[in-house]
Subunit: 294 residues, 2 copies
Amino acid sequence: MKSIEDCVVGIVGLGLMGGAIAMALRNCGALTKNSNTAGGDRLLACDTDSETLKAALAEGVIDEGFPSPENMLPRCDLVFLCLNPSTLLRFLDTRMNAFKPGALITDIAGIKGNIVDAVEKNLRADLDFIPGHPMAGAEKGSFGGAKNVNFHGKNYILTPLKRNKSENLEFLKALICRMGFGRITETTADEHDRKIAFTSQLCHVIAAALIDCESDTGITRFGGGSFEDLTRIAMLNAPMWTELFLENRKELLARIEQFEKSLDKLKNYIVSGEEASLQENLQQVRERRTAMIG
Amino acid sequence: MKSIEDCVVGIVGLGLMGGAIAMALRNCGALTKNSNTAGGDRLLACDTDSETLKAALAEGVIDEGFPSPENMLPRCDLVFLCLNPSTLLRFLDTRMNAFKPGALITDIAGIKGNIVDAVEKNLRADLDFIPGHPMAGAEKGSFGGAKNVNFHGKNYILTPLKRNKSENLEFLKALICRMGFGRITETTADEHDRKIAFTSQLCHVIAAALIDCESDTGITRFGGGSFEDLTRIAMLNAPMWTELFLENRKELLARIEQFEKSLDKLKNYIVSGEEASLQENLQQVRERRTAMIG
């Protein structure tokens, strides 16, 4: 892989995360326009929404915009596929021939098992694909919300394939650090999907259930921060999270059931007035949370 | 009631909230030392922990500290009782004769039904007691954490009694605004306990259950903010929250069951792969959360 300073990078899908990645690549200084490439254009993006492309060009976030990928992909040394899982799978199915020979590809999908399966079956032999998941987001979606996504110090999960070239993996990890992420974890797709079912999907289900069970919008007069914090992520992108929940169904259901057991334990202490057991459990929780995050 | 500038104020219990209230009273300019009172001392506090009193005096948060209330209460025109509910009830039982004639008293307990009952039964005829609940807090408790409590723009609930003098209610509301709170809601103790069971207690039970069901402290490598936000309040003061959960048992259990039903609905959509229903529910949740908080 050449130096990032000599690469042309393509973003497929300039939504919330695609936009945030384009901004991070631009702002970290890795992708300023330069004369090494034809026309100096180095940060390309394709999106079906022409207004998004227009805005991204006007803000200087990208150098060139494309309504569809066929003219963009052949120019890109590195491609970020920033699509919902189902769109990503269709894209890999239909656009495989458009990639530049030897290109490095990565994605940002919140589920990795089915993506890895598809890549392992269908990837062209000359391409390298490193599945990834940047652990960041924002409540207000689409390109307009991208500037509110903060990568600084955040987690980034990679689920490398056996066939990945180690130089490409090192290249991508260095770029991720440069974009501001604080910690990169390499793991398997299965392990990713198991852990994410807990830290991300279960939390979104809980936030949604909390909002679902109270119809009085004036309830916020009684809020002190807890309710607001627990339901911030209920401002979710419904089509995307529907996909994530259903695609990771088995792991997510296991986590929901585990949570229900813990909730039931606390509920039973309250029902039966077991003061000492309740207090002991809450104290253990406090200590465990402190050990987890501090 | 005289002007706050001529009052001597006493804080009973200089923990997290007592400390934060003392700081807010001091910082808003209502309680600078002045010569209208004997010795100019206007902000008094009692606490059983001598180190806390020493620190509060050294930091200029209070003017005088007392190891017990009997010498402090007779001097105070306004008293903030900043105690856990059970300690507060005992205090009202044993210290009623120590208050200054005509004093205005308020509390900060997170449950109001039993406090209001006790006050209505036992309050001295010359005293006025306005039950209150400032909706603010911080994870790291005791006086040392008080500076991290932010009152700015927060909610404050008052559950006035029929016998409260309207001039005292207006006086307390003006002072609450001056301390930085953004919205005061007056309601009944029953309504407070019903709503708080949802916005506060249920959220704390959920956060505790989330931590309870995962023992791997390394799970945070897979966190993207959701898990961190949903479990911040799992750093709870175990004895106090045990009291709050058990004292408000009936309302809290009703809320837990309501939440379980909503969680079950989402779970069933996932189990049966009802994509359209799941997506529709998530979209409704997003819209409702937006209407609630924006």
